[in-house]
């Protein structure tokens, strides 16, 4: 199973993401944003957290228009898996692969803490390792994680079981407590919390492990 981790100027969770994927059994290649193509045979593209291009203009906006993102959009449209975490989620909304947008936190402060998440669906490669309704703790670290979409979009996401995670105690003002959402084909996941930071015993919390294990297990047997 082959994974690519995209690296933008300002990415800072790229290495953690690569380690989590590697330790879960993936063969990982880090890909620079100026590359116009993904490595051959990639099953999963991971867009890591950070502050791509200094968050200039809007978080993720410039990254979403970089050469590699055209290839990521093609990969997703061809049915490939894409995981966007934190800044990666912002990039995915900016590319249009996921609906909505991430606004400034309602309290205007940068928030860095472990938060409670409810797994809303186990019906995806990313969440099949959890029981629907399970509560897990995953760290967040963001200034712009306030998920916004119009009423119709929120209703569609909920109706189609595309909300992957919600906050148990909404830290940032996200509509419908949304922390992570899936694409229509359930293969693109964007989430603000960082599962790669709750991966090893040394992190003090391994609740993120099952996301990687479940996904890579599924892609390896597929």
């Amino acid at each position: 199973m082959k994974a690519a981790v995209i690296q933008f100027p300002g990415s800072n969770c790229d290495r953690d993401m690569a380690v989590a994927l590697e330790k879960s059994g993936a063969d990982v290649e880090v890909v620079w944003h100026k590359d116009a193509a993904l490595p051959k045979g990639v099953d999963l593209v991971a867009i890591p957290g950070g502050f791509s291009f200094g968050d200039y203009l809007r978080c993720g906006a410039i990254a979403a228009n970089s050469p590699i993102c055209n290839a990521v959009v093609d990969h997703a449209n061809a049915g490939g898996y894409v995981l966007g975490v934190c800044n990666g989620f912002q990039v995915l909304t900016e590319t249009g692969l996921l609906p909505g947008a991430l606004l400034r936190n309602a309290g205007l402060k940068y928030i860095c803490q472990t938060v409670g998440l409810k797994v809303e669906t186990s019906n995806s490669g990313y969440t099949e390792g959890y029981n629907a309704g399970a509560e897990i703790g995953i760290p967040i670290a963001h200034h712009d994680g306030n998920y916004f979409a119009d009423d119709e979009t929120i209703a569609r996401l909920q109706g189609d079981d595309r909300v992957a995670f919600t906050y148990t105690d909404n830290p940032n003002g996200s509509r419908a407590d949304i922390a992570g959402i899936l694409s229509d084909n359930r293969r693109v996941l964007g989430m603000m919390p960082h599962p790669e930071r709750a991966f090893e015993e040394a992190h003090g919390n391994t609740d993120g492990q099952r996301l990687f294990a479940g996904l890579i297990g599924q892609l390896t047997t597929a």
Partner: protein, 76 residues
């Protein structure tokens, strides 16, 4: 030629920064500030003959996120 693009959060999209500015103005003793919305202005220096349609495409593709923002173009 120059163009000025004004980008604003759409009505109905919560603007926590504008709300904080409104609160600060009230705390400073300015009365009657009933609402504050914060946006941004982007100035473009353009080759002569750049059309409004081309500037519109720049707005749609990069300068504004039309999920949450609206924009107006002013050529100067």
């Amino acid at each position: 030629m120059k163009a000025r693009v004004h980008v604003m959060l759409k009505n109905g999209v919560l603007d926590p920064q504008g709300a904080a500015v409104k609160h600060a103005l009230g705390a400073m003793g300015f009365e009657g500030v009933n609402g504050v919305r914060q946006g941004k202005v982007i100035e473009l220096e353009l080759a002569d003959g750049t059309t409004e349609a081309q500037i519109g495409e720049m707005c749609e593709k990069l300068l504004a996120n039309t999920v949450i923002e609206s924009y107006t173009i002013e050529t100067v």
